[in-house]
């Protein structure tokens, strides 16, 4: 989780500095057009293919008849079959449709929760004056560094006493309580880049903090909110440990648990259907990645407030 976090911070920071890369110059200072470098591209493409090869192979294997999965390094299926998807979707007992629905509910609610709670807290920390602000801000930053495993056991006991085990509540409720402090931090950092005159003007015009937040700040922080939404979705969709702890009834399983159960139940014999479902499970991630990339690159630059 932390790695994506880091990428995110830098991605945000970089665009704010509006760096466009180094212009290559001639000795007299005139800008040189980038020259094509076939060898460099060949290396980079080659290495990229090597890295992506397992993924491409898995995609291919999901369309292969099972007897060919193990005899071929070639990723292209011949003949092409959709049986794996059909069998995999039916699953063993509970179908994958249920898992996908569950994952969608959990991820969707988590996205809403994080956007709501983290932006509220971020606004308060960045823009409002109140007693204890510095203390709470420091506490919030401290929670960024706390490994989740320290909280695993006591949170389990807490949620178990509340009778929340085997429901989505332990997965979703914390998001509405802004437990992912990183996104608060992101929001605060983003708000620091917006001129204070905006909300001051709104307040002078008689808007209360709530109106200022809702009408002025929220629309302006759309890029930060989008970032929050994208990463919350990806992390929640991928999360394996939390559902593993709290969801016991297969009808409540999320996609990662479903995939893992597949592995336990059918072992080595059903690789085809399993790869088909693995491919499907990565689908939404790819989608959000592609959609988010575009948004993230244009996002902060287009707020246009830094002139």
């Amino acid at each position: 989780m932390t790695t994506e976090t880091a990428a995110l911070i830098t991605a945000t920071g970089r665009r704010r500095r509006s760096g466009t890369g180094r212009a290559r110059r001639n000795a007299d200072g005139s800008i040189r057009p980038p020259r094509p470098r076939p060898l460099a591209h060949l290396m980079l493409v080659g290495f990229g293919l090597l890295m992506l090869y397992p993924l491409i192979w898995m995609l291919g294997a999901s369309f292969k008849e099972s007897e060919f999965i193990f005899s071929e390094v070639n990723p292209f299926p011949n003949p092409v079959t959709f049986d794996n998807y059909r069998q995999g979707w039916q699953g063993s007992g509970v179908g994958f449709g249920t898992y996908f629905l569950n994952s969608t509910i959990v991820s969707g609610l988590s996205v809403v929760g994080n956007m709501f709670a983290c932006s509220l807290a971020g606004y308060a920390f960045a823009r409002l004056e109140f007693r204890g602000r510095k203390f709470f801000f420091a506490a919030m930053l401290a929670t960024l560094m706390l490994p989740t495993h320290v909280l695993l056991v006591p949170q389990y006991i807490l949620f178990s006493n509340l009778g929340w085990v085997n429901s989505f509540l332990p997965l979703v409720v914390p998001k509405f309580l802004a437990v992912d402090a990183f996104f608060i931090f992101l929001m605060v950092q983003f708000l620091r880049g917006l001129p204070r005159e905006l909300d001051q003007a709104a307040m002078i015009d008689g808007a209360g903090p709530w109106q200022t937040y809702w009408r002025i700040i929220l629309p302006l922080t759309l890029p930060a909110l989008a970032t929050t939404a994208i990463f919350t979705f990806i992390w929640t969709w991928n999360d394996f440990l939390t559902p593993l702890l709290y969801l016991q009834d297969p009808r409540m399983y999320t996609v990662p648990l479903g995939l893992n159960a597949f592995l336990d139940a059918s072992g080595e014999s059903a690789w085809g259907p399993m790869f088909a479902m693995a491919v499907l499970s990565l689908g939404p991630l790819f989608g959000f990645f592609l959609a988010g990339q575009k948004y993230l690159t244009s996002g902060i630059a287009t707020t246009g407030l830094k002139g």
């Binding site: 990428a7 308060a124 320290v150 389990y156 001051q200 648990l257 990645f289 690159t297």
Partner: protein
């Protein structure tokens, strides 16, 4: 400044003209004539409560889901608790047992340390190498960046762990390729000598996110340094060694700390690849996997809590040592 900061202290901080959020208090600038109307007074009072309303979700989360459980976990680590009875105080017995009479625990520590200290440096080396290659003004940077970043995004998913299980299995992809060269491979994940290696490769494969950070940092290296070096006739290699690398050291430290913390807490790949056992012969028994087994399979909640706190201190110490060592190799511009 603590929470009990006096009004005058806050006034000073508000007036110092910095970019701090306390700077522009609207009340100060828009204060009306002394005769305040009732509604305005109410508005002012509401503004005193409003910040806490904004903060309310976080405040509840902080006290109920973070701070409370943290303190409780610390308490539990000194107890024997199986979730059913009541927690029984045993002092530091759990901690003593960890290090003196639980060889499986020590094995999990060893496995985790090998995993962390082999995979993270390799991962960062790849990240830096590719970032430097990509930073040479090539077309299609965005596409390359996406390609190399993608594994980081999905590396911790069950789908990838499943794929890894096949790739390094007996009839897996790796052995099929080796077969071309006449090498008959055994199951890599079934062999205690190589199982951990496959997970290390998985982590190295996710070098994309540190790479993105390196790329961003490379853009911040001032061009005039290279121009000056070019004027002096310095070779590219020396320019990398004496300009690029020193300028990147703060980011190297940043990446190193983040990736170390992340690697210490890795869980999903080991769980899925070994089917939750940490096998073969505990060779992939990651720290967190053993913690999970103790806490949620054996319901030894006190013991698991003690493990969590030891992990916390492990990470804290490694991070602190990193920062302490950093003064010998990290170059700060300003």
């Amino acid at each position: 400044m603590k929470s009990n900061a006096t009004t005058s202290e806050r006034a000073t901080s508000a007036g110092d003209g910095g970019a701090r959020p306390g700077r522009g208090r609207v009340r100060a600038s828009s204060r009306p004539a002394p005769a305040r109307s009732v509604s305005l007074r109410r508005a002012v009072r509401r503004n005193k409560i409003a910040p806490y309303l904004f903060l309310l979700p976080w405040l509840i989360g902080f006290f109920v889901i973070t701070l409370g459980p943290m303190l409780y976990s610390f308490y539990l680590s000194f107890t024997d608790f199986n979730l059913l009875g009541s927690a029984e105080w045993v002092g530091i017995d759990n901690y003593i047992e960890l290090f003196t009479s639980d060889p499986k625990y020590l094995e999990s520590v060893r496995v985790t340390l090998v995993y962390v200290f082999v995979s993270v440096p390799l991962q960062l080396a790849f990240a830096l190498l590719l970032a430097v290659l990509l930073n040479r003004g090539l077309r299609g940077l965005a596409i390359y960046r996406s390609i190399y970043y993608l594994p980081s995004l999905i590396g911790a998913s069950v789908a990838i762990a499943v794929l890894w299980r096949q790739m390094f299995g007996r009839n897996g992809l790796v052995n099929q390729v080796l077969d071309w060269f006449g090498i008959v491979g055994e199951s890599w994940i079934g062999n205690p000598d190589t199982a951990l290696g496959t997970l290390i490769i998985l982590n190295v494969w996710t070098f994309g996110s540190p790479m993105v950070i390196f790329l961003a940092a490379l853009r911040q290296v001032p061009e005039y340094l290279y121009e000056a070096a070019a004027v002096d006739g310095v070779s590219k290699w020396r320019a990398f060694w004496h300009i690029t690398l020193p300028m990147l050291t703060p980011v190297v430290l940043f990446n190193l700390v983040l990736q170390l913390i992340g690697a210490f807490q890795a869980f999903t790949p080991a769980y899925v690849v070994s089917g939750g056992t940490g096998g073969p012969v505990n060779s992939t028994l990651f720290y967190t996997l053993y913690l999970y087994q103790k806490g949620f399979a054996n319901f030894e909640m006190g013991y698991a809590s003690a493990m969590a706190w030891v992990l916390f201190f492990f990470i804290a110490i490694v991070t602190a040592v990193n920062f302490w060592l950093s003064k010998y190799w990290v170059h700060y511009d300003d």
